[in-house]
Symmetry: C2
Subunit: 101 residues, 2 copies
């Protein structure tokens, strides 16, 4: 069983290659989070939003990370963070080549 955490928030930049330099250290640290499997970094420069799609081993791991990440974003000046946690439906996901385990 795996759990999806989807996070998005208003983001004035940087985007693209400039975003990579700004967040490489953060990305590296995320690999050490308990129960973390993978993250897809998401960005939309047109509507000034960014976020991430994460896969965690348990719901508790996803919840703990969301709490930690929301506090961090608040310190960065991002007041409102959209965060939702879902269980992956493995049988349907398998039909659509979804990368869960």
């Amino acid at each position: 069983m795996a759990y999806i955490l989807q996070v998005d928030f208003k983001h004035e930049g940087p985007f693209g290659d400039e975003m990579v330099g700004a967040f490489t250290d953060l990305a590296t640290s995320i690999n050490e989070e308990k129960g973390f499997i993978w993250k897809i970094w998401t960005e939309n420069e047109e509507i000034k939003e960014a976020g991430g799609i994460y896969l965690f081993e348990t719901k508790e791991d996803a919840e703990n990370y969301l709490t930690k990440h929301t506090k961090r974003l608040n310190r960065f000046g991002i007041a409102h963070v959209n965060g939702k946690i879902f269980k992956a439906n493995n049988s349907l996901t398998a039909i659509n080549q979804g990368p869960v385990r």
Copy 2:
């Protein structure tokens, strides 16, 4: 370059194994959508929500599918669909083993 489509909406059920039987045909059809790469089916029985995380080859493919899927959900009686499209940041995603290509 790949694009994430994240979709979620209120869903009264079915969940889990019962959801599989109800949506196997739909899942199979999604494999035929233009530019579709994969989908993770998401569900949260506690808060009565469901949805999906999709990867598409282009932004246009993601937009076209979101339009089609929103109309289908409306026909199912789901009036409000949250749908957001993001570009994946490939360099940061690679640090975190994210399954994009």
